[in-house]
């Protein structure tokens, strides 16, 4: 087995994507661009002077820079933590690594609002830049951890063996061959983290760190004039586009794929030796801060206050609704993400890049902006489904499709391009190749994307409030209602239920990915005996 860098030969790289992919991907892009269309309409109404007034307010530029600084710091930290944990749980002899790989993903199930509140209510010193950075890092590093862990499991051992046989040491091999293999996964995760940090409103606001999204919120609250908010939101869109373009440039030619299917052999396991206690300390420390602490505070909420007590007759319907809309949202978002992800990985030219960037463009917009965009279009052009489940699901799709796209793209990019080409040369139709070759290879990525969207939908609040069917409650909206009057003890059961419900797809996701990957490699990782220190 040998590996070859993907050359831009006259293979698929330069070709147009087949219609079977291109049409649904174009639909996905159109859906994702709805909020931007709305923002342009609102901004166009304003006229030049008003736009400049908003843009040149003293604080606009300053807050953009603050938001970018926060996003950069959170991304750097989340990549460090996510990659370290992914490597420790997949490639080393860390004790209990199977359990750790589930635990490391679980902070995704804790809404960052709950985590932020857990800190600020008990340790008020956790506030400002450092507090916001800490809470955001702890709630977003799984976006990096999950795809990178999956990619590390899929690395072709042959590549590492070749590197070792050429005289490189184990660390050098890891830093060169292995790192290059997982780079697309790291980039996809980092992008999601950066855009999450840019768009989040709840955490910085609870932890009292003034960022750009707060200006957008304040301008809705203050003037009831949607124009300044629209202008500011477009600034955020411009920033997002710049970030996604930079990310895809960085991906550039770094994507490698196996030529063959890989053979059934074990991946080398790095022995931690005397580094074991330190590795356990790092893994356990992250779990304690990201998961243990919020869980302890939730337990404390449950145990105090006269409003405590579980209203089952409200909790259960809210739980069922949450599950239902999360499933629908995940289905819709994943269905649209698959063609976009495949095109982005396989046909970067011929419109692939543009479509991918279009789907990401609105991803850093605060939920309220996306919600109002859909209110605008829904009330005017989709009255029959306005404030009904289909439009709510559409909102979730707009908001969270990129999470699924990143997973799909990373999985497809890592699987050998040649297999699809061989199938085509043997007379398969593009649809046949998709069904029999590309989709199975992208399976783990699709599953990961589905679970990620499901999780994020469960935690979504602003769009749910405005677009839900009148009278429907989700766990997140109940949580909002109870905390809105300071009834933290009454809120606790909803928070606990939300965390538990979100933990299910997280758990399944981390296991499914592992099993899909080991099926793919037809191997189980076995401990190697061979000095690796």
């Amino acid at each position: 087995m040998t590996a070859a860098p993907v050359r831009r030969t006259r293979t698929t790289a330069g070709r147009r994507a087949p219609a079977v992919l291109l049409v649904p991907a174009a639909v996905a892009a159109a859906v994702a661009l709805l909020p931007i269309g709305y923002l342009l309409l609102r901004t166009a109404e304003a006229g030049g002077p008003a736009i400049w007034d908003t843009l040149w307010r003293d604080r606009t530029l300053w807050l953009v820079l603050r938001s970018l600084g926060l996003a950069a710091a959170v991304t750097a930290a989340a990549v460090t933590v996510g990659v370290a944990l992914a490597w420790l749980t997949t490639r080393t002899d860390l004790p209990g690594r199977g359990a750790w790989s589930v635990v490391a993903a679980l902070p995704l199930a804790v809404p960052s609002f709950v985590a932020a509140y857990a800190w600020v209510s008990v340790v008020p010193e956790v506030s400002g830049f450092l507090g916001t950075w800490l809470v955001l890092t702890m709630s977003t590093y799984p976006y990096v951890f999950l795809p990178v862990a999956a990619a590390l499991r899929r690395v072709d051992p042959a590549l590492e063996e070749v590197s070792r046989s050429l005289g490189r040491g184990p660390w050098q091999t890891h830093l060169t061959v292995t790192a290059r293999q997982v780079r697309p996964a790291v980039a996809a995760g980092a992008l999601l983290v950066a855009l999450y940090a840019l768009s989040d409103f709840g955490t910085p606001s609870l932890l009292r760190y003034d960022v750009f999204t707060r200006v957008i919120h304040t301008s809705y609250q203050a003037s009831f004039d949607r124009t300044p908010a629209a202008v500011l939101s477009l600034v955020l869109v411009a920033v997002t586009v710049a970030i996604t373009v930079a990310e895809s440039r960085s991906r550039g030619r770094a994507e490698h794929a196996r030529v063959g299917g890989g053979s059934a052999r074990a991946l080398r396991t790095v022995r931690l030796g005397r580094g074991k206690p330190l590795a356990l300390l790092v893994t356990g420390g992250v779990a304690a801060v990201a998961l243990g602490y919020p869980a302890a505070v939730l337990g404390y909420w449950v145990s105090r206050g006269s409003s405590a007590g579980v209203e089952w007759e409200r909790l259960l319907p809210a739980g069922v609704s949450t599950l239902w809309v999360a499933l629908l949202g995940a289905l819709a978002a994943t269905a649209l993400a698959v063609p976009v992800g495949i095109i982005a990985a396989r046909f970067p030219r011929g419109g692939g890049r543009f479509i991918e960037h279009a789907t990401y463009a609105g991803h850093a917009l605060p939920g309220i902006v996306v919600a109002l965009a859909l209110v605008f279009f829904g009330a005017r052009y989709a009255q029959p489904i306005y404030q009904r489940t289909p439009l709510l699901v559409l909102a979730y799709t707009v908001l969270f499709m990129p999470a699924a796209i990143g997973s799909v793209r990373a999985a497809v990019a890592q699987s050998p391009r040649s297999m699809g080409e061989i199938a085509r040369s043997l007379g398969r139709s593009p649809l046949g190749v998709l069904r029999d070759v590309t989709l199975p290879l992208a399976g783990p990525g699709i599953a990961a994307g589905f679970a990620l969207v499901m999780l994020t939908v469960m935690k979504e609040l602003p769009a749910t409030l405005l677009l839900r069917p009148t009278g429907m409650d989700t766990l997140a909206t109940r949580l909002w209602t109870e905390t809105g009057v300071g009834a933290y003890a009454a809120a606790a059961p909803y928070a606990v239920a939300l965390v538990l419900l979100a933990a299910v797809p997280t758990f399944v996701l981390s296991r499914v990915q592992a099993s899909l990957v080991s099926d793919d490699a037809a191997t189980r990782v076995v401990e190697e005996t061979g000095g690796e220190t």
Binding site: Y220, A222, G484, G486
Partner: protein, 354 residues
Amino acid sequence: MSLTNRRAAAVAAGLATALSLAACSTEEPAEQAGDATDAATAAVDDTTLTIYSGRNENLVGPILEDLEAAVGTEVEVRYAGSSELAAQLLEEGDGTQADLFFSQDAGALGALAGADMLTALPDDVLNLVDEGYRDAEGRWVATSARARVLAYDPEQAPEVAEMTGIDEILDEAYRGKIGFAPTNASFHSFVTALRVDRGEDGARQWLEDFAALEPQAYENNNAVLDAVNGGQVSVGLINHYYWYERIAEEGADAVEAEIRFLDSDDPGALVNVAGVGVLNGSDAEDAAIAAVEYLLSEEAQQYFADETAEYPVVEGVTSTEHDLAPLGEGLNIDLNELDSLEETLALLDEVGLT
């Protein structure tokens, strides 16, 4: 102002039994309320009354349920933040399904009235409240009122118990020890009242002095109260009823903070209102007007006074549960002026308090 256990229990029960209206939207309307007011005449009942409520379900859920019985029309409620709902209504325009907007503050109602989305209410409904509690053109009416107060930590700042005006907190002793919620609509209303009362320069002067004391900014009134309770700050600027809610939630023993009502002619004691307006083109206008009438009935006013610890806006109703300081004549501010938020925010921006 200590609470009796009975009172705490009553408020807690009120909060805990808030039932989702939606849950019964598919069932028959609930039993006729015990002594539903005559004012709310039964409306045509083959329509649905859709209420957008910016007020929290835990606070107004029970009374909206009684409203459904009193008005005799099926009621559907959508709960979200007042400003988000105002933005939503403005985006929906003519396509809105909403019949009634129940807002946490006058500003959101003023914005909708300004966009010509609210219909003028009949005189007999408007005349149920004093002029100060309704829109000059009759497009919305207040349903309850709340006062700005100083929450304080009696250990750190016992002297607050004697304060009469908002200027008294501009003292070096409180450097870094004042909590406030800069994004909160009620705080904005207070600043607007300051501007209306003292003029732009007077308001700017006060805000600059305030900012120089490095006040601590929090997310909302509850967070400010948390900070006073925890002793991180010694004084907090909040609305009076947050304190009553907190006592109901945790019991009087667990709440360190006390509150002080300033003199009623001081901007720091501004009275804010929650209110309602009927949307233009509502397909259930009669039911919507009957609903407004119900919210101003003695029964509903008693609910606000007892259960949410707010001030009634109708003569002759007093709280049987809470020891609320009587509201004086107040500032005589036209509440519609409180929607001049643009200028308020510009001023806050200028002094660095956003």
